[in-house]
């Protein structure tokens, strides 16, 4: 079977790969690039635990074929969010507000929140709920997740 040459950017680094047509972006990230932050949950695009940012938008990497990516497409995973040892405010906020339990949904949740706040720094509560409900969590009950996003949007979180 023919392999395809695909070039795109992951966490600021250009990558140049030969992929099988059936390879998903999640498989590329986890198995080839050793970026295991994105998690495989349902594998069918329903749960959101494999969410990464594709050109800034939350995208379920388990249902995107890597071959679909174009030159110049930018993928951001949870590994690419912190600036060195300095966490992104949304990561700080998740920690400060105790929005993490088992942690499986957390990378997807954080990236979905990041995308929302980048597009709309002051979302209403309704907008936060609508956006975050794209991702399923089986432990937190969402309250602390919503509080974490609200805290960043109202800049209550420490920016140190």
């Amino acid at each position: 079977m023919d392999r395809l040459k695909v070039k795109f950017v992951v966490n600021g680094q250009p990558v140049d790969l030969n992929v099988k047509p059936s390879e998903t972006l999640l498989e590329t990230l986890r198995d080839r690039l050793e970026l295991t932050g994105a998690k495989e949950g349902c594998g069918l695009g329903a749960c959101g635990s494999c969410t990464v940012l594709l050109n800034g938008l939350p995208t379920r990497s388990c249902i995107v074929l890597t071959a679909e990516l174009d030159d110049g497409d930018e993928v951001r995973t949870i590994e690419g969010l912190a600036d060195g040892t300095k966490l992104d405010p949304i990561q700080e906020s998740f920690m400060e507000n105790g929005a993490i339990q088992c942690g499986f949904c957390t990378p997807g949740m954080v990236l979905t929140a990041k995308s929302l706040l980048d597009r709309n720094p002051k979302p209403s509560k309704e907008e936060i709920i609508r956006s975050m409900s794209s991702n399923l969590c089986r432990c937190t009950g969402y309250k602390k997740i919503l509080e974490s996003v609200e805290a960043v949007s109202s800049s209550k979180v420490s920016k140190s």
Binding site: M1, D2, L4, P21, S22, T24, E27, G43, L44, G45, A46, G48, T51, L57, P58, T59, R60, I63, V64, L65, A67, E68, T112, R130, S131, S133, S134, N135, L136
Partner: protein, 314 residues
């Protein structure tokens, strides 16, 4: 993991896409957002020899005001469309259905054409190949009888598009390009009424655009689902009103949407319209809720929706 070998092609225009389909003797799948196709390939419900990615055909994703019609490219994303000012102003039923479609991050990937051409769904069909093989193949997989209603020789799978009922209330038309050229038809003519093969499509035909008459309407869409966040509809009810006439459409019960025109909007008239629609559908036990409940929710959602919309007209 997709346990399937296929080729991947990215045509530059519609003609090339259709030609590729023919080159692989129809063992091909068109890919737009992939939110329906890729899970289907993972479950082994779709086994194409080539996946034809349409995303590089840019005219397929634009929205255009043509005077009497608004042309919506089939690859326009659900999320972009719900932010579109013309759709907000002219077609509130469509806007409501776009908002109700899945969840926000899938709306950012999924396209309106993909939503319209999603295959019909059933609890006994949208399962892994291992699961389905163990149960025995149903009518939708070439088997001899239905797995939801054992012994039945009719497929009861549900067509779960949220946007289709809304577009039916707006008398939308759709355009296909295929090996024999282009054709345009009313959306309601698309459906075969048979859930095994829900669309009247010729091999290789590609949905290029949706045309909605540019007439101001008021309207809405009500959706029955378990989780507000992301579910497919268990029942979808659309309603649009303009120039003294209303159109009520239900979807997600059986293989196609059903519509009824309304001139009166009293409680009695709404109940009568709901009764007319109920006579055309046969909900069975193939979703996560009891069929009797889905049936009873038809007049409930219709009444709620029509009253809400008509309240704004007064």
């Amino acid at each position: 993991m997709i346990a399937l070998k296929f080729e991947f092609r990215r045509p530059k225009d519609v003609e090339e896409a259709v030609r590729l389909y023919g080159e692989f003797q129809g063992e091909a799948a068109y890919l737009s957002g992939g939110t329906d196709l890729v899970p289907r390939m993972k479950l082994g419900l779709e086994k194409p020899k080539v996946v034809i990615d349409l995303k590089r055909i840019s005219p397929l994703s634009t929205v255009e005001d043509q005077g009497e019609w608004i042309r919506i490219g089939a690859l326009a994303r659900i999320f972009d469309l719900k932010e579109n000012e013309t759709i907000k102003d002219y077609f509130p039923a469509l806007k409501a259905s776009l908002e109700a479609t899945s969840c926000e991050s899938l709306q950012m990937r999924g396209t309106i054409g993909g939503n319209l051409l999603q295959n019909s769904r059933c609890l006994f069909y949208n399962q892994s190949e291992f699961w389905r093989r163990s149960k025995g193949f149903c009518l939708k997989m070439g088997g001899k009888s239905c797995n939801a209603i054992p012994g039945a020789n009719t497929c009861f799978a549900n067509y779960c598009s949220d946007n289709a009922p809304a577009l039916c209330t707006l008398s939308a038309e759709i355009e296909f390009s295929g090996p024999d050229g282009t054709r345009r038809l009313n959306l309601e003519e698309l459906y075969t009424g048979r859930a095994e093969k829900p669309f009247k499509l010729y091999p290789g035909e590609l949905l290029t655009a949706i045309f909605v008459p540019k007439k101001k309407s008021v309207g809405g869409y009500e959706k029955l689902r378990i989780r507000g966040a992301i579910d497919y509809p268990l029942l979808g009810v659309g309603f649009s009103y303009g120039n003294g006439t209303g159109k009520l459409t239900i979807g997600a019960v059986g293989p196609k949407p059903h519509s009824v025109e309304m001139k009166q909007f009293s409680q009695g008239a709404i109940q009568e319209a709901a009764e007319t629609l109920l006579k055309q559908v046969r909900p069975v036990d193939n979703t996560v809720v009891n069929p009797e409940y889905r049936k009873r929710m038809v007049p409930v959602l219709a009444e709620r929706l029509v009253n809400k919309v008509m309240e704004g007209v007064k």
